[in-house]
């Protein structure tokens, strides 16, 4: 039971194995802070909508279930967006359209269809949280490398010592650009596949 729910963290990771949600993983990972906020937002939306859909699973007519799912997801996305704007305004500016685009994140719709519609509310809630965390882990790892190598900072604090710059060290401009995020995600998938094969 517990093992099943731990799947999204490694062997069923939504980004690395199912390659879902890659678009936002490329867009918001230039720095660590927005990546973490994005990961939290997706986790909250995924968990809450999973829970609500699971509660309603016996009353939603199958033919219009997608519309109902979209309604509920967008309700939570708007909620999260408003909270972000109220609490961390500058980061919500930085994330711009990508908070709104959580509605189209395939991970959330996928979990609703594949899990929440056929499971009880509590397991659905846990499933939503775990998938959000699995997505968030990839985001944080990618953002860690992109911010460290691209800007020389972590969580907006400079970590690369000044003396390195004096000796000719330069920040890698390619890390700031989205293509490098794609290469990093690709590398993570590569390492993951290699590990799975060896097992």
């Amino acid at each position: 039971m517990i093992k099943e729910h731990l799947g999204p963290l490694s062997k069923d990771n939504p980004v690395l194995v199912q390659t879902l949600g890659v678009c936002s993983a490329l867009a918001v990972t230039a720095q660590l802070k927005p990546a973490v906020v994005m990961a939290l937002s997706v986790t909250v939306v995924c968990a809450c909508s999973n829970f609500i859909i699971s509660l309603l699973r016996n009353t939603i007519p199958p033919r219009i279930r997608i519309i109902v799912q979209l309604l509920i997801v967008s309700f939570f996305v708007i909620l999260v967006d408003q909270v972000l704007q109220a609490v961390v305004y500058d980061i919500s500016k930085l994330l711009s359209v990508f908070v709104g685009l959580i509605i189209t994140n395939c991970i959330i719709m996928g979990r609703l269809e594949a899990f929440a519609l056929s499971h009880k509310p509590l397991p659905s809630l846990v499933d939503g949280v775990m998938n959000g965390v699995g997505y968030g882990l990839v985001l944080v790892v990618v953002a860690f490398f992109r911010e460290l190598l691209g800007s020389g900072t972590l969580w907006n604090h400079p970590v690369v010592p000044e003396s390195w710059y004096a000796h000719g060290y330069l920040n890698n401009g390619l890390m700031i650009l989205p293509p490098m995020a794609l290469i990093l995600v690709g590398t993570m998938i590569w390492v993951k596949n290699w590990k799975t094969e060896r097992r």
Binding site: G168, L170, N172, G173, L174, L177, I183
Partner: protein, 361 residues
Amino acid sequence: MAKKFNALIDAMDTFLRTPATITEGRCHVRDAVDMKRIMITVMIALCPALLFGWWNVGYQHFLATGGTTGLWPCLWYGFLKWLPLVIVTYVSGLGVEVLFSQIRKEEVAEGFFVTGFIIPMIMPPDVLLWIVAVATIFAVLFGKEVFGGTGYNFLNPALLARAFVFFAYPSVISGDKVWISGADAITSATPLALAMNGHLEAMPSTWELFLGTIPGCIGETCKIAILLGAAILLFTQVADWRIMLTVLVGGYATALICQAAGLCPIAAHDQLLMGGFLFGAVFMATDPVTAAHTRTGKYIYGMLIGVLAVLIRLLNKGYPEGMMLAILLMNIFAPLIDYCVIQSTINRRQKRLSNRKQKRS
């Protein structure tokens, strides 16, 4: 122990000595050409440009700092600038190759010898060594090993290394400045940037462009040396003349049209002599692994490289060196071009066949 490092030992063995293994049984093809020989031919073809490059790096340095511009001091200065670059490139690149051969339990392929030879020739002479190492490792890892090693890469690794430096460390290799090796790294605008900004009088003459006594990367300046290399490649049939010709024709035609349209302030033939155009056309576009393989495909591939290179140069001020981007882009499209050419041939023949059947019946 010997078994564990088999890949490395085998690589050294075949590199230093002629392997004793011979083909057993009856074989029909009798030819001494193998990958090693092709690679060495390319390296020989690169030598004229390299020798001139050494001299030119020294010549530009002494010209800027006001020293003697004798033949030997210039050559020696350039050689000393080039040597660390090439050592760093080979150590980092071969390190990755050997590591992967070891993991995959394969032989080390000879592919990197040419790549590692070309990379220092398309870098500015004063580039920081760690940047060269990072770029080489990136290019070999993500341009080649990820896709299965030598022969499976769809991007030219040497160009990928340069593109990496271009995008990752733009201050080092921005493209609209050229580099004169020296203590305080004097930079000046490239001929192309001069022409685009209307400083036509400051531009080097066609003859200087052709001769190559202008600042630039180590390998790209002297057009005579590059043409000599092209002759070697064509004579030994290592490179395909179709690609070289169509790149030049495509570039020249586009430059002519742009000139007529008022986009290009300089003569069309100067366009071909500038920057890395000729070097790219001779040594990069013709890379047999990454180029198109079908005959018709080669014409299309070469033509598009020439057209795109000149268009990028003239229309996008941000990327003055369009040749690198044009070749990389067409490398990506080469398999698609081949696919279309093969499909159209199949369709044509199928049509012919069905026509014939109809006539008979």
